[in-house]
Amino acid sequence: MAKTKPTAAGAAAADKKHNNKKKGKGNIKGRSGPAAVAMKARGAAAAGAERSNPFEAIWSRRKFDVLGKKRKGEERRTSRSRSDAIHKRENTLLKEFEQSAKSSVFHDRRIGERDETLPEYDKAILRQQREHMAKLKRASKFNLSDEEDDEDSHTLLGNDDFNEEVPIGDDSDEEGNTLSKKRLSLQSSDLPSETDLPGETHGHKSKKEVMSEIILKSKFYKAQKAKEKEEDEHLVDKLDSDFALLAQTPALLSLTESARVNTHKNNSSTIHKGSSGLTGKEIFNKEKPDAYDKLVKEMVMDQRARPSDRTKTPEELAQEEKERLEKLEKERHKRMLGTAESSDEEDDDSEDGDHHMRADNSKPISGDDLGDSFSFDEPTKRKKGWVDEIYENEGRKIGEGVASGDEGSDDSGEDEDEDEEDAGDEEDSSDDDFRNMPARDWEQSDDDEVAVEEDEKDDVKDKEQVIGEKVMKTNAQNLKRVSNAKQKSHGKDEDLPFVIEAPNNLQDLCSLVDGRSETEIAEIISRIRTCNSIRLTPENRKKMQVFYGVLLQYFAVLATQSPVKFKVIETLVKPLVEMSGETPYFAAICARERLIHTRARLCEDIKVPGKSSLPSLKTLLLLRLWSLIFPCSDFRHAVATPMLLLMCEYLMRCPIQSGRDAAVGSFLCSMVLAATKESKKFCPEAISFLQTLLVTSLKGEVSNQINDQFMELKTLKPWLHISEQVHEVNRMNILDLMSMDPDSPFFASDNFKAGVLLSVAECLRGFVIIHEGLCSFPEIFMPVSSLLQQIMEKSELPALLQEIFQDVIDLIKKKSDEHHASREPLQMRKQKPEPIKQLNPKFEENYVKGLDYDPDRERARLKKLKKQVKSEKRGAMSELRKDSYFMAAVKEKERARHEQERSEKYGKAMAFLQEQESAFKCGQMGKGKKRRR
């Protein structure tokens, strides 16, 4: 049955209803047919009577309702759907079958024949229209039109509203004109038609007349409407003018005035306000907008007063504050453990790590390849150039400093200088640094090969650069303005202005705060901050960022001045901390860039032998400021982590070249301690540095080292060896120390040494307390303890120091013993016990039958598709089967018809023959004879 296939396939999807229905006959209670519903709908559309025929329907009666069970398709009309199916086949399959034996096909191309929904009448209209159009197209004057046709068309059309489209009869005169002309004539065709009217009104009116009548009527109504409208307008105008006159009278004016006052007072009288507003508008339409109008408009725009929260009591405020702090503390703790955003951080790690590794792979021996080269003459040349360059730089800096004269601009100039030169210098220096010191192998070979990598700029870097450029620009302006600013500052009177524009360069700030006391400076800064608060306008953000940068610069400048104005510096701390809270990103970027810069300087300083590379007071203060601003306890922080790294690098790489260095290093250790206190992070550098300091206090016995940690790196002289008994131990003042010359005799005094040892011991104690939980606590601190013991034995420590040393030793001993008692071997591979697989049944809330609850969505989808394919296939198969039944029935019918025909013919022939025979037998007697007769 090749013929049926396309039909079946086509019908398969659309006529699922059929097969469903058929199937339904077999299992009535089973899957319902959407067919029934669809059919029902169609039935409703087709005929209402059919639906209620109970004899056609099959249904099952339910004894009770089952919750959650779909209840569609309980009723189905088998006979009807079957007849539908047969009917459909008759239209499609049967037609095809009939055509199959024929070589030619009859296509009915008559208009409207294709569309079966069109009734005969519409078909006729269509045909007529087409014919008419064809006539118009011919455009020949001489074609005679047959009036009969037109008349017919009109009668056909009847009284429907084809007025516009269908030509009216009188164009028969002008038959053959163009369409446009005819349209024109349509409009003007009233007259002739009207003239015609009286003549033909008798009996029934013709179509033409009816139409014209309708048109007339509509025209009349239109005109009437227009007239009415005009009259209305006139009336309104008149009223307006009357009212305007009326409004000029004092009575009404007073009324409106009072209304305005009322609206001032309360908003509640909206009705009155509304009406008066209207009148106002009406009255002063032609005049300027009134103040009242404006007022009304403004009031519309005005914000309504909102109910505010009641003022909080101090207890509530305290409670809120406490909650806020607790929340912050919780977050901090989370960050400290590194659990927060650990996932993406890990991603980053892997990414970064990969990147890093790849970068390293590209030049895997960059750490030491430079030392291997044979080229000797080049390095020496380079070396000279490099050293010269440094001297040149310094010279230039000094020169500039002298030129500018002012302290502030000096430093900023220096900073700038370095900024500018860094880019140039660092490439050179990174090339050079190994060739310069082939002999000093044990020297630190950590270097700044990476200090500046232009191509690694991320957007943050870009941003920073933009800012840097800005700062650079402002600094360039600085130098120009020096003289002006100074004059200004002198000429200024003493009282502070209340509104201060945020200074956008250091010079402005200096001129603003020069010669002011600390409280005044604090006041100035707070005023600048209130005037340019970010909350006021978003543009202030930029301003404040610039101001923040300037303030930070000022902070740094103050730290470099020879008599350090520590109090002024302290006043800057609070605003800086608070402002960092307003622009955290900017603050972080500033801090980071400065850190990178400081590190670059450290790398340079280390290469110059004999130069103290430990941080200057400025760096120390900045580091401390950042450790106040940013939480050092975070597991990983954009600023705190690099800062801690830098501090440790100082401790690890910088040689101790004077007593001052020892003191600075010791102070740095206590800063590291302060930074790691909360998170209890382990800093090996700090502890080994303290250890080194202790070793330096042993004279001569240095060779007998407890362990040889980096001792070679530090130039070990007994910097801290106390030769004579000191009675008093004073705490050291770091600010004083920093301002002293490294060669000052104070650093050789026993007082100083005792002070440093005191700080070392205190710092050690801090570390001991922090690290008491570490697994290898004994290994870390036992050498320290024995070193302390040695010092106690061999040098003449003051009583206080001895006491503290002993204290620390005891503490270490106590904790070590604890560790020794409790320490267990590692069990890192310990697997968590796996839970036994549970076989408890799982229940689904609000279970719906038929929904797929497979947790694997993909599998569920696949299952659904498979199910669909299966049902489609089944549907197609049954459709084909029914096709073949149908065809068999048709053929059977045909065959039966043929059979019948044949048997009829046969019967006839037989009857004829029998008649003949009988006639013959009876000797031409009987019928024939009779007939003939």
Partner: protein
């Protein structure tokens, strides 16, 4: 200049043809070797000596007729100790691997070389790669490997973060190659009998860091607590990296050896750069009940004062009270500065 000699000898070999060419090159090599031997016999100043050691393995040994001759020079250099040994190791390694040099007590010497200074040295990159290569063989005795692992881990208590990273990578590789030393990180506890169910407590670390003989170091009874300590390292990269040792390295199929070259060139510079170049995602800020008005609080910095220059004379004498105050101060350091 030495390399040019070596190169020119090769160049001549190409130009001349046939057997004469090989002969000439052989002669040249012989002369080259002789010259070098003569040179090395001279008492060399220290910097030249180091330069020689640094270039020997790359430029000299390949062009020598019989590199084994150098073994005396290299072994004596290796015996010197310190940086000289580290530098001689690369040459010695070539002789041992390519020229069948037997070197007794090689591992003992290597073991002795592991000092904190190595991780700051200039040539650490090559040295650490060689170290990894030397410990690659899976035929090494467990005690030796355990000693190395333990010694390396002990070093983490004093080396910079980059060094700690390398050490973790090295230990990772060691643990993977030698499942027999798995006990260093995981002490199996028999769970069946009640007697042994309590984990055995090791009080003091049986490992002796001062012992130069790895056989006697006592590492076989120890455990890598230092690695556990590194979890609290201040560098996030290090404390994160420790986690790589937590995976079960005895299952070889599931683990990969770490490439030492990825870490060996690390330094403060690289670690700092990685941290400083990180994209700033969020900047949490420290919070205070009341914003601090001074940079240094003396309670945070025991042993220091921060008075102004003016009251220099009025430095507080801390005779008696220091001991008492510090006790209390240190007990609550966190509470004081924050919250």
């Amino acid at each position: 200049m030495w390399s040019t000699v070596g190169l020119s000898s090769k160049g001549e070999k190409d130009t001349s043809e046939g057997s004469s060419a090989t002969r000439i090159s052989k002669k040249l090599k012989l002369k080259f070797t002789k010259a070098w031997l003569a040179f090395l016999k001279l008492p060399l100043p220290l910097d030249v000596y180091k330069e020689v050691l640094a270039t020997l393995h790359q430029n000299v040994i390949p062009s020598m007729s019989n590199p084994a001759i150098l073994c005396d020079f290299l072994t004596t250099s290796y015996d010197i100790g310190g940086v000289i040994s580290v530098m001689a190791l690369s040459g010695l390694f070539i002789l041992m691997t390519q020229h069948q040099l037997e070197y007794p007590k090689f591992y003992d010497k290597l073991y002795a070389l592991l000092t904190p200074a190595v991780f700051m040295a200039k040539h650490r990159s090559v040295f650490l790669q060689l170290l990894d290569a030397c410990l690659k063989s899976s035929y090494l005795q467990a005690y030796l490997v355990a000693s190395f692992a333990k010694r390396l881990s002990r070093l983490t208590l004093s080396v910079p973060p980059a060094g700690a990273l390398i050490i973790i990578a090295l230990i990772h590789n060691l643990l993977r190659r030698h499942p027999s030393i798995n006990f260093l990180v995981h002490w199996e506890v028999a769970q069946d009998d009640g007697v042994a169910s309590l984990p055995k407590k090791i009080g003091a670390d049986p490992f002796n860091n001062e012992e130069t003989d790895p056989a006697k170091s006592g590492a076989m009874r120890s455990s890598l607590w230092e690695i556990d300590t590194l979890r609290h390292h201040y560098t996030p990269a290090v404390s994160r990296f420790v986690a790589s040792l937590e995976t079960d390295l005895t299952v070889r199929a599931k683990t990969m050896e770490m490439k030492i070259t990825d870490f060996s060139s690390g330094s403060y510079a690289t670690v700092f750069r990685d941290e400083a170049r990180r994209r700033i995602k969020q900047v949490p800020l420290a919070f205070y009940r009341s914003t601090p008005t001074s940079l240094f609080q003396e309670s945070d910095f025991p042993g220091w004062t921060f008075g102004c220059q003016s009251n220099m004379g009025a430095q507080a004498s801390v005779e008696g009270n220091a001991v008492h105050t510090l006790e209390t101060v240190d007990a609550s350091p966190a509470k004081r500065s924050r919250v």
